[in-house]
């Protein structure tokens, strides 16, 4: 509840540079056992509640379930199962290789590996692939059917009329030759990324074309033996599994993986401290951090995330339709104070710009600090300068509603800004809404939200994920609850630059990244956001857990760790 955003993996469109570079080398180096520790035993994971969303792999959209689905199911391609930047590479999974698109990027042909079986004993066939993609539309409520997969020929018609969906022309499957050919309506350089996430994991033909309460059989080393949202999820070994690519789907270590629900987070932490359980999914309570860091330091793993926390200022309504007012707030914001709210400098890094560190196109840039320097780091607020800019903007005295949700940390951030804006001369009030409605509420331009807290976690690494999706002209849909450009920012020259970078990215990833870095600066100068910080992820595991790996894509690689 506290860190809502971690439950919501981010849906993002954009060109992926990494894809292009990964396409070439589908390496098959080591087929060895996973690093560190032995196999066997039962790994116990603790979470307050079952994944929100749905048990159905084609509907669920949470990190919590995706972290399990990656080792119960496979896509045609996969993100390499490893830590570090390597973990963002696309490698072949059910397909024998990552295809190079033909027909101007509109056709992808995959050859399936033979002899792969689902956990129900059925052998994987090409027709299962077509079935999977038709089901994605037929269930009618897959979140990204209409934003990611409608690029497949016939997809748009399927979104309109899910029940009668047919992808006969879009996904051509040939069981005899074991090949699948995708036909797209336009060139889509990030299509492979879309195939590597759980929505596109292959399910056996015959799975009901409606939402299921237990994830159907998959091809991974484990399968869902039990899914009881009030008690536990139980994953056991799939006896039909054999390793075909340790990059894409290595064998797992524990024999059984249990995810138990219903404890309070306090109790979860205590159980892991005592060795009764192995990992806490939820955010660790702030008042336990000191204790953990002094007594259980070597059971803690902290990894930076490619994510950003920000406050969007609506550039279309007063007072933040004034550039000076927006820049003034940016100068006056004490990002250290906000980092303290989040848990301190070890758990977050202040930032001024849109793109997070370690991201394609990232070049450190921070104009909104005391003594700006070429290092681009934020050092301290410059309140005097901020006040001066706000005074010059002539917006003093305006009423501002600071919108956040009611989760502790988010509300505290809201309260900080209420204080700051009042000090700058505005009349600020807090508007803390239920997490269930806050994000859509901010998006709808009818609600005229002036100042809205939000956060964004990458789905796969591409600069446009942040810049074009959150601040592009097309992402602002007036009067809609689905309009991710909360700042309502649309700058035509910058948009032209973005379109250019998108095109460049198909052929020249490095050049495109330089263009994105310039766009990042340009947007930051326009100050549609107050960027607060880039969060880090704290994992707390039990003493017996060995071989902890953190993938930038899937976070803690659960089945690769060992409890023996």
């Amino acid at each position: 509840m506290r860190l809502r955003s971690l439950f919501l993996l981010v849906a993002v469109l954009g060109l992926t540079v990494i894809v292009a570079s990964a396409c070439g080398g589908s390496s098959k180096k080591k087929g060895a056992a996973p690093s560190g520790g032995k196999s066997g035993g039962t790994m116990i994971l603790l979470a307050k509640a079952a994944p929100s969303g749905s048990p159905d792999p084609q509907i669920d959209y949470t990190l919590q379930e995706w972290q399990l689905l990656i080792f119960t199911h496979d896509g045609l391609v996969a993100f390499k199962r490893t830590s570090g930047v390597e973990g963002t590479k696309i490698v072949p999974d059910l397909a024998t290789s990552v295809p190079t698109p033909t027909d101007g990027g509109k056709t992808f042909t995959f050859h399936l590996r033979s002899g792969i079986k689902f956990s129900n004993g059925k052998t994987l066939k090409a027709s299962d692939v077509r079935f999977t993609f038709e089901r994605l539309f037929k269930i009618g409520q897959s979140p990204n059917a209409g934003t990611w997969y409608n690029v497949i020929v016939g997809g748009d018609a399927c979104v309109k009329k899910p029940k009668s969906c047919s992808l006969a022309k879009g996904v051509v499957a040939n069981d005899a030759t074991n090949t699948v050919t995708f036909h797209l309506t336009r060139g889509d350089p990030e299509f492979l990324d879309k195939l590597a996430v759980p929505f596109a994991f292959i399910l056996p033909a015959g799975t009901p074309n409606k939402e299921v309460q237990l994830p159907p059989p998959g091809t991974g080393p484990y399968y869902f033996a039990q899914y009881n949202p009030t008690k536990q999820i139980r994953l056991v070994r799939n006896k039909y599994f054999h390793v075909w690519s340790s990059d894409a789907q290595p064998a797992g270590n524990p024999d059984v993986i249990l995810m138990k629900f219903g404890l309070s987070v306090e109790a979860e932490v205590t159980e892991v401290e005592n060795g009764q359980a192995d990992w806490v999914f939820d955010t660790i309570p702030a008042d336990r951090l000191n204790e953990l860091s002094s007594k259980y330091g070597n059971q803690i793993h902290i990894n930076p995330l490619t994510a950003v926390w920000y406050v969007a200022m609506n550039v279309r309504i007063p007072p933040f339709n004034s550039l000076k007012a927006r820049q003034g707030v940016n100068f006056a914001t004490d990002r250290n104070a906000l980092v303290k709210i989040y848990g301190g400098p070890k758990l977050a890094t202040p930032s001024c710009q849109i793109l997070p560190p370690n991201f394609p196109g990232y070049k450190p840039y921070c104009p909104y600090t005391a003594n700006p320097s070429s290092s681009g780091t934020w050092t301290a607020p410059d309140f005097a300068k901020g006040q001066q800019l706000v005074n010059a903007s002539g917006t003093k005295g305006a009423t501002v509603k600071v919108n956040t949700d009611t989760a502790d940390v988010d509300k505290a951030i809201g309260l900080y800004f209420v204080g700051l804006l009042n000090k700058l001369g505005y009349h600020a009030q807090l508007q803390a809404l239920s997490p269930a409605i806050q994000y859509p509420y901010c998006q709808n331009s009818k609600n005229k939200v002036q100042f809205c807290w939000s956060s964004w976690y990458q789905d796969y690494p591409a600069a446009s994920d942040f810049l074009n999706v959150l601040l592009g002209c097309k992402s602002f849909v007036p009067g809609s609850n689905a309009s991710p450009n909360i700042a309502e920012f649309c700058n035509q020259p910058i948009q032209a630059q973005m379109n250019k970078a998108l095109n460049t990215g198909i052929f020249q990833p490095a050049a495109a990244n330089n263009q994105w870095a310039a766009i990042d600066r340009a947007v930051t100068n326009q100050a549609p956001w107050v960027t607060l910080f880039n969060p880090k992820y704290l994992n707390f595991v039990s003493k017996r857990v060995k071989g902890f790996q953190f993938s930038p894509q899937w976070y803690f690689l659960i089945d690769q760790a060992s409890v023996k």
Binding site: M1, L8, L9, V10, A11, V12, A49, A50, P51, S52, G53, S54, P55, D56, I59, D60, Y61, G140, Q141, S142, P143, N144, A145, G146, T147, N150, V159, K160, P162, E211, Q213, P229, T230, K231, F261, G262, L263, S264, E266, A267, T270, E271, T406, L433, S434, P435, A436, I437, Y439, P440, Y441, N447, V469, V477, S480, N481, A482, P484
Partner: protein, 321 residues
Amino acid sequence: MLAFTVRRLVGLVAVMFALSVLVFLIFFATPGIDPARQMAGRNPSPDTIKNIRHEFGLDRPLPVRYALMMEHMFISRDLISYGSHTRVVPQIISATPVTLSLVVGAAVLWVLFSIVFGVAAAVLRGTFFDPLLMVLALIGISMPVFWLGEVANLITQDKLHGSVFSWVPPPGYTPLTQNPWQWFLHLLIPWLTLSVLYIGFYARVLRANLIETENEDYVRTARAKGISERRVLLRHTLRTSMITFVSLFGLDFGVLVAGGALLTEVVFGLPGVGQLTYNSLTGLDLPVIMTTVVYAAFFITLASAAVDLVYAWLDPRVRPT
């Protein structure tokens, strides 16, 4: 009797109906609420939202939506939560034993202790102990249960966890069927916390009733007949005094089973009906809210009818209404 039962049944259904309609209307009158958007995830296309709206009947008129929801709740019993997309009825069914464990245990404690304290205070009237017990009871009544729970957590989980209270497990719940001893350990502190208020309250009620009854004619007669003080107390005074006690108990028990133990469940991390209610409210998850409201209304009205019935049976002077 039959007429009474029928009337109360009709009343029960009417209250449940009225409440569910009210809750339903309040929910949809709340601005910003868009269940289809809520279910659609982070960045859906308008078509997907439309599909979901259609799939869940959210594009139908309000009365139809209400009827559909009731159909899914009572007849096909496959009502789906907006938040988790899982069935609601099994959630309530699995939360009920937790709440029952908490409330029954606390009820046993509060009935036992309040009778002991109430009788002791009445018998020791005129001594130093009566006012002492009554002040203690008042203090018990005056403490917010969630605060008491926090202080209990502070002492048993932190300050004295290293010594006296090392046996206290971390807050949470273990089912009785899984491990009875752990079940007991997990619930002991919550039981005590929840029962403190009721012990104080019932002890005071009982004391007052005992004193009142002592002066009734039939008690005087019994005394005059030379029956021992103890027999008078147990056979006559206490029995009559229990009428109020029992009826109060019925109401409080009903309210607690219906989710009234919410605060205790939240403080001690017990996944019962109260916790479920609270989570569904903060998540604005209408199907779960509706189910818990109907569940609660059922128990509360049922308890109130049961109390009237028992009352009439214990005290024939009162006609059930």
